[in-house]
Amino acid sequence: MGVTEIVFGSIFLSLSVFFFALTFQFPEVTIALSPTVFPRFVTVSLAFLSLVLLAQGILKRLHGGGEKRRDKVDRPYAIRFVLLATMGFVYTRILESTGYILATPLFIAGTMLVFNEKKWHRIVLVPILTTALLYAVFRMIFRVPLPRFPLW
């Protein structure tokens, strides 16, 4: 009870204090609007709201003192989440070296596996057809310079 509020309240409070401190490095401008005004207003407001959130969380914990409700972490879901996020990151890293046509079908096929797709013909066909369609639209019609395999 109230853990979310305490955790997020602390994170946002730290962020707002950090960014507020950084505004002292900005140059002060006397004409019109200084670049410090808007960020300081935002960080102070955010710090205040984070404190309210934190207080809400502490109050919830105090009122629900005896209650021991702990959300269980759904392990398979957490693994899928980490896998998907990692695959997204790896995709962005390898895209330039492998090119769009090679990296994208692999990425889509991997994502399908994470989404528990079991039919192999779908795992083969959907990524190839999707990549071909997106390539045709973006590369050939819109002329977007999609990354290419360096040897092509």
Binding site: P27, L49, L53, G88, T92, F115, E117
Partner: protein, 491 residues
């Protein structure tokens, strides 16, 4: 009138009309699929519309907006799962009708009511917008700043269950918006000497991440869950003349109610549809039949939620402030394609506005035609497996993020905000307030800067205009109402 003819000629041009058609058809599919909303649909369109003419982009976006609001009713009726929040009230009587084997009738009435609601709201938009835009031409930076402050109070209204969490999310958006070059001084704020950060976070990847990629992560939770299936045969789509005679008395007032609610910033389709449902029940001779499969219980919310579409466009087009989440995303989309909504748009680019008016109207007829003709296909649309749909969307999200600046960094930004958005949404922090902060923050700061330059740094100038004071007043009322609403909902 001749300007509207020009708009009609533009939209019916064979090079432009297909984009409206794709927008509406895509919107219906997106709206029908639980997990995808109009906002996500608009974001997925962005990479495509970036390469089109602004007017064509705008009619495609409008088609997506209207189609998605209507599409939400399909899954609401067939499988008791509203495709969009606006269709939540449609479930109440739509699903009981489907259970009785009358899904065809319910879908037919929903389609006709949606189209009539959309037509009435489009007419209101066509008549009201130019007058309001004419009035808004008097606005200077002080009034615009006050208007942006009012726009930001919408954050409180779209804050879902917790007002504090919504405000935290909104102010985080404002903080994100302050990263990068300060327009007045050219100083790169919070850039940590990282070249990519000097221009701030690009808006399109942020939108893609917060709305679309975070949704993909959320959908991972539905991997092994099967959606309900509608197995009965769909027949008898067109309602009888007697039914229509009875229902039109519900549809017309609900359409006007939806339009009015749509015009008020911070409301949206969900509120309109529940209000219309309650009114239809209150004025019905047979209120007990509501909730058990009364066609009026489908017609009223559908007319109202599609009624909000034209209404919500009024403040967006004339003042440049979004009325709800979808129009906030729409505002972001317009800024990305280089269209700045506001009264000057009516003066400088009237052809865009007229094409939009006509496109919006034709979208309603497309909804009517496509809806009635493809009723039997709808159950198949709902069968698209999650394991195919979301991987394709993930690929499209990355491509969309890349295509605007041809930048891998933008793809990383989209992924980063997808992860941030996922954790925030999972813990009750709505993504919409953050988006509002990201979009409206720079606009508010720009107008404030202009006002202060013109007044030689006199802050008092912000409170001298009666129009600005009016906007501050309604901003205070809006926040007060949100606080009271949160208080009442706890009771």
């Amino acid at each position: 009138m001749s300007a509207l003819y020009d708009g009609l000629a533009y939209v019916l041009n064979p090079f432009h009309f297909p984009f409206l058609f794709i927008g509406v058809a895509g919107g219906i599919v997106v709206g029908a699929l639980p997990g995808l909303t109009g906002s996500v649909g608009i974001i997925l369109l962005l990479p495509f519309i970036y390469y089109l003419e602004p007017a064509t982009s705008l009619i495609m976006l409008s088609g997506m907006f209207c189609g998605a609001i209507y599409g939400g009713s399909i899954s609401a009726i067939l499988i008791s799962t509203p495709g969009t929040p606006s269709a939540a009230a449609t479930v109440l009587d739509g699903y009981p009708l489907a259970e009785k084997g009358e899904a065809g009738r319910a879908l037919g009435v929903a389609t006709i009511a949606s189209a009539i609601g959309g037509i009435i709201s489009t007419l209101c938009m066509i008549f009201i917008s130019p007058q309001l835009a004419q009035f808004a031409l008097r606005f200077g930076p002080e009034e615009y700043f006050a208007l942006m402050v009012f726009g930001l109070t919408v954050i409180a209204s779209v804050s879902a269950a917790s007002l504090v969490k919504g405000l935290v999310s909104g102010f985080s958006g404002l903080l994100i918006a302050s990263i990068g070059l300060d327009e007045l001084t050219g100083y790169a704020r919070f850039s940590f000497d990282i070249p990519d950060l000097m221009t701030g976070f690009p808006m399109l990847p942020v939108l893609i991440g917060l709305f679309a990629i975070s949704q993909i992560f959320i959908e991972l939770g539905n991997v092994d869950k099967e959606l309900k299936r509608y197995k009965q045969k769909i027949k008898g789509v067109l309602p009888s003349r007697q039914d229509m005679k009875r229902l039109i008395k519900v549809i017309i007032p609900a359409s006007f109610l939806g339009t009015l609610i749509g015009i008020i910033p911070g409301t949206g389709g969900a509120i309109a549809s529940f209000m219309a449902y309650n009114e239809a029940k209150r004025f019905s001779k047979d209120p007990e039949s509501f909730g058990k499969g009364n066609l009026a219980g489908v017609a009223a919310p559908e007319a109202a939620n599609n009624g909000t579409t034209g209404g919500a466009m009024v403040p967006l087009l004339t003042l440049g402030i979004p009325g709800d989440v979808v129009t906030a995303v729409m505002l972001g989309a317009l800024l990305v394609i280089g269209v700045r909504p506001g009264p000057l748009l009516f003066q400088q680019n009237p052809q865009i506005i007229h094409a939009l008016f006509v496109g919006f109207m034709l979208a309603q007829f497309l909804i009517l035609g496509l809806g009635l003709m493809s009723v039997r296909i709808f159950p198949r649309v709902l069968k698209v497996p999650v394991s195919i749909l979301f991987p394709i969307i993930f690929g499209l999200c990355f491509l969309g993020a890349f295509s605007l600046n041809n930048s891998i960094y933008d793809m990383l930004v989209a992924l980063l905000f997808g992860i941030i958005g996922y954790f925030m949404r999972k813990h009750g922090f709505a993504a919409a307030p953050m988006i509002l902060g990201v979009i409206l923050g720079p606009l508010a700061e720009r107008e404030l800067g202009k006002a202060l330059i013109m007044s030689h740094g006199n802050w008092g100038t912000l409170f001298e205009s009666p129009i600005a004071l009016f906007f501050y007043g309604i901003s205070a009322l809006s926040i007060g109402y949100s606080i009271l609403r949160t208080h009442w909902s706890r009771k």
